[in-house]
Amino acid sequence: MSKLALRVDQISKSYQIGKSDPYAKMRKPFVDLAKRVIYGRSPLLPSYEKNNESLFWALKDISFEVKHGETVGIIGSNGAGKSTLLKILSRITKPTSGYAEIHGRLGSLLEVGTGFHPELTGRENIYLNATILGLDRREIARRFDEIVAFAEIDQFLDTPVKFYSSGMHMRLAFSVSAHLDPEILILDEVLAVGDAAFQKKCMGKMEGVAKEGRTVLLVSHNIASILSFCDRCLLLNKGRLAADGDAVSVAEIYQEGQSGVADSDPKVNEMIISAENKKNQKAIFRSIALAPLGRHGELVAVLRVGCDMEIMVSIEAIKPIVEVSVIVSIFEATGNRVIDIGTALKGDYLTLGSGEEAQIHFTLHNILLKPGTYRVSLWMGRPPTEDIDVVTKATEFNIEMDPRRIKYPHQYLSVYQCEFTHSIITGNASKNADSVLN
């Protein structure tokens, strides 16, 4: 049985909303006393003044326990109370009510490079920063060379930090943070800084920390980093603990909440396409609807990698159209065109009389695009000569990662992930080499 590292018992934290008036508080006892004298009320009775300031509960009745060696992710949308919880656990601010206890040495890293001062040299800043983060002088001395080597700044150790390039500054800051050695480590989304190469280095270091069996609490928006570091995940929603369980299932609940669908009730997302300035066209697109489908063809709340999706396009012909093709194109946020589907690709063309309507259903199977936002555009015409209607931004959709399919912890770099099979053949290296030679 592993030991308790952290116990949080009904922690709540409230803030006052709106303009706080500290002077009102200062006035209050005098005003109160004056009123008591005037109205002859006993000083033992409670105050006349009602506390009518509106309170905002950043956290409400949060309770959980963390055992030593657990890596716990804390996820939630902006304003869910993640940072407030970390601030309370790292004792930066106190809870309004409740109790928490921490067993063991706690290091919290809510920002990289806390306390760096531009006028101080690299060496002095290492000592200052490490001291702020809770190391004593002996521990710093022991790690000093390692920190300098990791940051690659040995030449500039005695130069004031204000002369450092921003990259050097960042490397030094992270290096100090990475060499903290607490039993319980609290991390905010500090990894989301720097260029790709630097992030990679940081991720490697963090993974090392998580795998050493240390207790880690990681706050993030990013499901991928939660899934790669954490076994367990807490979901905060509007200051309350909405879910607590294994990282994969909590991540799924979070995605469903994020999709904006209340009570994770799946529904078809339909967009009406404006017909303004299209009076003279032969035909127009009326609407487009997207429906994410699950494994068994059922409607689901979240479109995840590997899902199917149905696209329904309605068309209205104003004048007669003959042998027309309809194309749906999907673009990455960066503008790359990644998918084209169209009736013509299947050798199918559409003919409508004036005033007639048509609905075209496309079903995309096993969409293996990388998670992100995609734009859908529509085109109708007679390739390659005639454009009848073009809608560059008909609608948008999001693809979320599928927490159950992830075996490789890092995010996809490629746009498209095709299905593949693999096998690994192992054997004695020298023997294989021999067989090749012979």
Binding site: Y15, I102, L106, G115, E124, I132, P160
Partner: protein
């Protein structure tokens, strides 16, 4: 819980951090302050380094401005206004007043804004918040002792001989440091809650400077007002420094006792007031 031979578990047991809502009248955790002495040291070092960063004259900048002020005051009050100085060089009167006063003036100014200036630390890491206003008190000691050196050299140059009573200056300065700490704590905590305090402070300090015998001797005040004037805790501090250095008058017992009592009350109450504000400081700043 079962018996566990694992020694590391023992160390976990011994370090349990309790997190509770703010409570009224929390005493100072002296052990915790001591554990954070390194942080205090590096923050003091930081403050000292920043002051001198990039300057050619370095520590000379500590003594040059007060020497300039002392010269101006000597000319204005000593030669032009002819304030009586009892056979003593007027510049010694001014310098001896300025040694404790400038420390108080500079440190209280810095301490008042210290919480806001270090908001970036307060909102990112935990440490006993009391360290923040204490940092300028320690960093200011460099200035205090440099100026004291100047005063002693000047006294010798004016032909006064060292005397055993000079040692009493240490006592007076310790009293000045405590008074500074108390007032500094009060103002740093007040400024967290009420930002107007920061604007009011320069005016208060200016009034205080003229209500204390900084630039003129105590005898310049009409004797019938001594009972009121001596309630200013700075009278006892400055007058005891002058008594120790120049001798002459009897020891200012009444005003010195007033200073001791005031300094103790302000310091103790300052610590408690600061403690009552520090819990919410990270939320307000």
């Amino acid at each position: 819980m079962k018996f566990s031979p694992d020694l590391t578990n023992k160390s976990h047991e011994s370090k349990v951090i309790h997190i509770r809502p703010p409570q009224a009248w929390t005493p100072i955790n002296v052990v915790e302050l001591w554990q954070h002495r390194n942080l205090l040291f590096y923050l003091v070092l930081r403050d000292i380094r920043i002051v001198f960063a990039g300057t050619r004259l370095g520590i000379l900048w500590v003594v040059l401005p007060p020497l300039a002020t002392a010269t101006v005051m000597t000319v204005m009050l000593g030669f032009l206004a002819k304030v009586p100085s009892h056979e003593l060089p007027y510049s010694l009167i001014v310098l001896s007043g300025m040694v404790p006063w400038l420390y108080f003036n500079n440190v209280v100014s810095k301490a008042t804004f210290s919480m806001a200036a270090n908001a970036y630390l307060l909102s990112k890491v935990y440490f006993p918040r009391l360290i923040i206003p204490i940092v300028p008190m320690l960093a200011g000691l460099i200035d205090l002792f440099s100026l004291l050196g100047v005063l002693l050299v000047a006294t010798l140059l004016f032909g006064l001989m060292p005397h055993i009573s000079w040692l009493f200056i240490i006592v007076s300065l310790i009293l000045a440091i405590f008074l500074t700490m108390g007032v500094g704590l009060w103002f740093s905590a007040l400024n967290v809650k009420y930002s107007d305090i920061g604007k009011l402070l320069p005016i208060l300090l200016q009034l205080m400077a003229y209500a204390s015998p900084v630039f003129y001797p105590h005898s310049f005040v009409p004797a019938k007002w001594y009972w009121l004037y001596d309630l200013n805790p700075f009278v006892g501090i400055i007058e005891s420094v002058r008594w120790a250095l120049f001798g002459g008058n009897p020891f200012p017992m009444y005003s010195f006792i007033v200073s001791v009592i005031t300094a103790s009350v302000i310091t103790l109450s300052g610590i408690f007031f600061f403690r009552s504000v520090e819990d919410t400081a990270a939320d307000i700043i």
